[in-house]
């Protein structure tokens, strides 16, 4: 049975995949459905949802279209989530492979650095980094990756430690391949699957961290973000709660979707392993 069919068998996975598909569709459709700047003023301020069908989800305190903001916010969330996951897995896999394959002093030094990063709460690190460098999308991605690369590094190292004793690695050594070539062409590709399994958790965490940073006013102010929308809605929480609730629901669904799909993927691949 193929991985995909196995994946589609678990109902959670399907639910997760559907949510993610909807999210990606939202992100891709945003510039087509809402070509105007989502931060532009579209109508009267604080219009409640479902009153005016040209503004189905209402407007915020300045009269901006909440639906347009939601769609464009999906772009930011997905972009940050994927970029942060890719960055942290790239850093983590490299560090882990080097540490595991080289061993000795290199291993010690790299893993103590990893330990050091792991002892500092990732969110605190991101907060400090963004407040020093200044908020922009790239900075936010780096800030999140800064706290998230340690997990992949540890998993990659553990995997590499077992792979480097395999016969094909020994044979590569015998034919005189450069150690770095062995590490990154022979070992790393085989060590990667379990590391990739971490990616769903990292994407979900990254989306949440980005939202939290925006909520604290440390997001990019020239972009719509869900966290920023929630923060703006907070001032009118008692009189217009929908402004915080709508992006909040979007955030919860997204993280849930990423998580469910990731779980489903891990389950499916584990089942394949059991069968083979």
């Amino acid at each position: 049975m193929s991985l995909l069919r196995r994946f589609l068998r678990t109902p959670e996975a399907v639910a997760g995949a559907l949510i993610l598909a909807a999210l990606v569709a939202m992100a891709l459709a945003a510039p087509l459905l809402f070509p105007r700047d989502p931060l532009s003023i579209a109508g009267p301020a604080l219009l409640p949802p479902f009153q005016d069908w040209s503004l189905p989800l209402g407007t915020d305190r300045l009269g901006r279209d909440v639906l347009a903001e939601l769609f464009h916010g999906a772009r930011t969330s997905i972009a940050v989530g994927l970029a942060a996951a890719a960055t942290s897995i790239a850093i983590g896999a490299t560090v882990g492979t080097l540490a595991g394959f080289a061993g000795g002093l290199t291993d010690e030094v790299l893993m103590r650095i990893t330990d050091a990063f792991q002892t500092v709460p990732g969110f605190l690190l991101a907060l400090a980094f963004v407040s020093v460098v200044g908020p922009s999308l790239a900075v936010v991605v780096i800030a999140i990756a800064l706290g998230a690369w340690t997990g992949p590094a540890r998993v990659a190292r553990a995997e590499v430690l077992s792979i480097r004793e395999r016969d094909y690695v020994a044979s590569a050594r015998v034919i005189g391949m450069h150690p770095l070539e062995i590490a990154f062409r022979e070992v790393l590709p085989n060590a990667l699957p379990p590391v990739l399994a971490l990616s769903s958790i990292i994407v979900a965490a990254a989306i949440l961290v980005e939202a939290a940073l925006s909520f604290l006013g440390l997001g990019d102010p020239n972009r719509v973000t869900w966290g920023g929308m929630i923060a703006e809605g907070r001032a009118v929480l008692r009189s217009a709660p929908f402004l915080s609730i709508i992006p909040g629901i979007a955030l919860v669904l997204t993280v849930l979707g990423v998580y469910l799909a990731g779980e489903g993927f891990v389950e499916a691949s584990a089942a394949r392993k059991r069968q083979s």
Binding site: S40, L62, R234, V236, R238, S239
Partner: protein
């Protein structure tokens, strides 16, 4: 039972009294104040230096004004808008070189020592003039303070100084501190800057960092029968949403300085037992201003500045950002100022088409994306409203082809970026009008101010004509002539737009209806609250 019987005559007499009472001015008709009680107030900050003689700011006054008093306080209906406090009368000389204050007798400091003219002389020469943020400007030519007797202080100026300016400065700039406490010490570092000793109706009893300030009744206060309250407690509630909740839960009695967000006022005003008061801040008008960096070649062009002024819909700002709790501005002096304001200035109506035409005329054509040029916009982070106006301004500028990128900073970084590094093109600022343009308004457009002075002209603007007007007004003694010069000043500023005044706003007090005598002067939140009481 007979005690409860309602007689017809009694009802008639009662209603007649009610009718009469509504006809009387509020100050004359007052029920007997209840004695005692503890007033609990929301406070959003804990200033590092609590000495109002050094730091003349509202955050400090809010607490310290109950402990340390000025020479005179602002008033709604007294002569020149002033009511005596530590001074009972004041008079300026013809030549503008001296002002004579008669001081109140039988006043003692909280530590029991008598208050005399030596304290006033010391405060003026050693504190207000050299150390105070605003006093440095107003008292710059103060040469000496003569003390012919214990209750007379004569201020002598080296250059003619307008009496009108000194008068307008009395409420905010003349908090008197005790000579015997500060003399011979490093005044800026004296422990009494946090453990205040004053003459006011309340003594500072206790401060628990992060929790509260507790003020106790001064039994020896000079005001007859005052203060009414036994205690005032300032509960530190930095979260704005918390103040509204605490009021509704009756944990606090009063939240001043718009501690309850504007967006929440409509809802909370309907809660029984809670009153929303918009009065009591007339002497502390904030102005919403777009600061312009004239070093940018596009912004140095008057047509571009006019275009920006035409692109801003002031009514929308008042209605949406301030939810109606503000007024559109016409120029650098707010409309609620009775002495100086003139409406005889050019107006910039909201007109994006005209703004676009002006920019075309200035030679900044739209490119393929519809953008003429890019700007860096720094909204001041101090108020929700300044930040929201920043969001609005970005959109208003986009409509006329100017791409403004918002840069958010915290308060310290914002001040450094704008007032020291000049790393901005446009900034949103909330300067305060303090009753006289010479106190903190002319500094916004005057040239030659050193780098790093906050809330001053750091946009590199220089206009010899406006500088000359400011200079001339600063030495014009005659109040009428001086007022005329400031009217001219307003006109010139609005013509040349060194900055753009968008709106004027003040704060809102939300209080339980048991708190009486709220907002009965134009600086109520920062006045001494000697007559405030809690009805039981």
């Amino acid at each position: 039972m007979s005690d409860f019987r309602i007689s017809r005559r009694g009802v008639l007499a009662g209603s007649a009294f009610l009718l009469a009472s509504t006809a009387l001015p509020g100050t004359l008709w007052a029920q007997t104040p209840t004695k005692g009680g503890r007033l609990i107030v929301a406070s959003d900050s804990e200033p590092r230096n609590l000495n109002p003689a050094i730091v003349a700011s509202n955050g400090v006054f809010f607490i310290a004004s109950k402990v340390i008093e000025p020479l005179a306080e602002a008033s709604f209906d007294s002569k020149d808008g002033l009511e005596p406090r530590l001074a009972v009368s004041w008079e300026g000389s013809e030549d503008g070189r001296s002002v004579t204050f008669k001081l109140r007798e039988n006043v003692t400091w909280h530590d029991g020592k008598p208050f005399t003219s030596a304290d006033v002389a010391f405060s003026a020469l050693q504190v207000w003039k050299p150390l105070q943020n605003l006093g440095r400007v107003v008292f710059k030519d103060l040469e000496a303070v003569d003390t012919p007797d214990a209750h007379t202080a004569v201020f002598r100026f080296s250059k003619p100084t307008p009496f009108q300016l000194i008068r307008n400065a009395l409420p905010a700039l003349t908090s008197v501190v005790a000579k015997h406490i500060y003399e011979g010490s490093d005044i800026a570092e004296n422990p009494a800057n946090t453990a205040l000793v004053g003459t006011g109706p309340f003594k500072l009893a206790e401060h628990k960092a992060g929790e509260y300030y507790r003020l106790e009744r001064n039994d020896k206060y000079w005001g007859e029968g005052e203060p009414h309250l036994d205690e005032i407690v300032y509960r530190v509630l930095p979260d704005r949403a918390a103040a509204a909740g605490a009021l509704e839960a009756e944990e606090i009695h009063l939240a001043a300085f718009s501690a309850v967000p504007l967006a929440d006022l409509a809802r909370i005003s309907k809660v029984p037992g809670i009153e929303v008061v918009t009065k009591g801040y007339e002497g502390l008008t904030y102005q919403l201003v777009v600061e312009i960096n004239h070093r940018r070649k596009e912004l140095a062009d008057l047509k571009v500045r006019q275009a920006i002024a035409h692109a801003i819909d002031k009514d929308f700002v008042v209605k949406t950002v301030f939810l109606g709790y503000a007024a559109p501005a016409t120029g650098p002096v707010p409309q609620n100022d009775k002495q100086f304001y003139t409406k005889d200035v050019p107006a910039y109506a909201f007109d994006p088409a005209k703004a676009n035409a002006l920019l075309d005329e200035a030679g900044y054509k739209r490119d393929a994306n519809g953008t003429r040029f890019k700007l860096k916009l720094l909204p001041a982070p101090y108020f929700n409203e300044t930040k929201q106006f920043g969001d609005y301004l970005r959109q208003a500028l986009a409509a006329i082809g100017i791409d403004a990128q918002i840069v958010n900073n915290d308060a310290a970084a914002h001040q450094k970026a704008v007032y020291t590094d000049h790393d901005f093109d446009l900034a949103v600022a909330p300067p305060v009008f303090r009753g006289d343009p010479a106190i903190s308004t002319t500094i916004l457009v005057q040239s030659g101010i050193p780098d790093g002075v906050p809330f001053s002209n750091q946009g590199g603007y220089k206009n010899a004509e406006i500088d000359a007007l400011i200079e001339k007004a600063s030495e014009t003694i005659d109040a009428e002539a001086r007022t005329g010069l400031y009217r001219e000043f307003q006109k010139k500023v609005v013509e040349d737009l060194p900055l753009i005044n968008v709106a004027e706003w003040s704060f809102i007090t939300v209080a339980r209806d048991t708190v009486k005598n709220v907002s009965n002067n134009p600086r109520w939140a920062v006045s001494n609250w000697a007559d405030t009481y809690l009805e039981t």
